[in-house]
Symmetry: C2
Subunit: 248 residues, 2 copies
């Protein structure tokens, strides 16, 4: 029922609003074809050679649970199926050579831009996370360890920090699974607080792709699955990135 | 319908889960009386004299829209009605002398803890915001200017940064309006992207307080109200903070 309602609302409301807003998304054509295969999206997103720093690598701040589950998934990448996503400082690095659809004004590239979930550079203090993606099953797992700069209630991660981690994992998954670019909605039911410094595992699944929208669900829980931290869902709008004709 | 569903779900689901989880929230009694008046909550929350740095003060990074709307609301605090909320480095500073209900294990106070929305100390790079609260009408306004470290799509604020700003504004409002302590749910419909460095205004209203839950809604828009960035709602669980018997 929720999905049906979201479809209707999205068609009549959010998507319409996005497309009507002349200052933000003028001239977009949501009916464009979505021809990029997941393979080509993934190979562009995960360059084999790059000088860019990958922030999704183990460091001394990772708790034993985080480290061992990371190694477990890294093993799974060798036998095929799972892919470890690199995590650069900015989304600009992830979409090199591409740009948002025409009409989306992009501010100057000269500044010091950071993707929100990599806003705190000190290891262990802010976001520690690594995302693994399974192209054929269109699902992801995000290992998330909130640091003390992500606090809400004393000793626990801020609900907003988990919301942002969900949105970021959803958006990477949506892009790779089907060129999902913009979050239309995000719904979260919080169940338990995540202690700062501990591991939370986000299990993300693309439920369906329909009417140029991706419907994604997520269960966030402890590694032993005994504690559910949150259940959530999100809807993303498909839009194709354009080839950059000139470097800014 | 959403609210009715949430009530039922919250009673049967989230709240139950929170209360059942022995490691996170053992021994809480949600049926405790909520005797604290909004006035006493506000006066404790907004100390007239404090050595703590208030981060919700104008600085050179604020755009003209942010600055002038801040001054406008500051004028309104003089004639009564509106109150400017201070914003300290940590929630621990906001609840000095109080602690979370028994059973909620709090990690050591020795570390460098920061509330998530004040995680980036450099002016203008991360979160710039100020919250004004209207006790008798149980509503808030948050002036929010996302910096370049809060980026999602190039040039625009990450959806998760707005989600966190909502959760933070909701939680302060919920606490002062009726001792709302824990986010049970957060639902966001994104309409337009917020350009980095511009002002977004969150208009937050407590719709009702029922069955120990606060139901909150929010419209986030540009100052001229011509662009709606998002519409959202949240549900918070009421729980009383306890008096701290000994300093850690």
């Amino acid at each position: 029922m929720l999905r049906r309602a979201l479809q209707v609302v999205a068609r009549c409301g959010q998507q319409g609003a996005l497309l009507r807003a002349p200052r933000i998304l003028p001239g977009l054509n949501p009916a464009s074809a979505f021809g990029s295969s997941t393979d080509s999206l993934v190979s562009r997103f995960c360059p084999e050679k790059t000088d860019l720093k990958d922030y999704a690598l183990p460091n001394a701040s990772w708790c034993p649970d985080m480290l061992s589950l990371y190694q477990e998934f890294l093993e799974k990448t060798k036998s095929g199926g799972w892919i470890k996503l690199p995590s650069f400082k900015s989304n600009r690095d992830h979409i090199q050579g591409l740009k948002l659809p025409s009409g989306l004004a992009v501010a100057s590239d000269k500044g010091d831009w950071r993707i929100f979930t990599r806003c705190i550079p000190v290891e262990g203090q802010g976001y520690e996370y690594a995302i693994f993606f399974h192209p054929s099953e269109k699902k992801s797992v995000c290992l998330f360890q909130p640091g003390p700069y992500l606090e809400g209630a004393p000793g626990f991660a801020h609900g907003g920090s988990l919301a942002a981690m969900m949105d970021e994992t959803f958006s990477k998954t949506a892009y790779l699974a089907g060129e999902g670019l913009f979050t239309l909605s995000l719904n979260i039911r919080f169940k338990n607080l995540i202690p700062v410094g501990s591991l939370a595992v986000l299990n993300v699944v693309v439920e369906k792709i329909e009417d140029q929208k991706l419907y994604i669900s997520c269960v966030t829980q402890s590694r032993d699955q005994q504690t559910v931290y949150a259940k959530s869902s999100g809807v993303f709008l498909q839009l194709q990135l354009e080839t950059e004709s000139s470097q800014q």
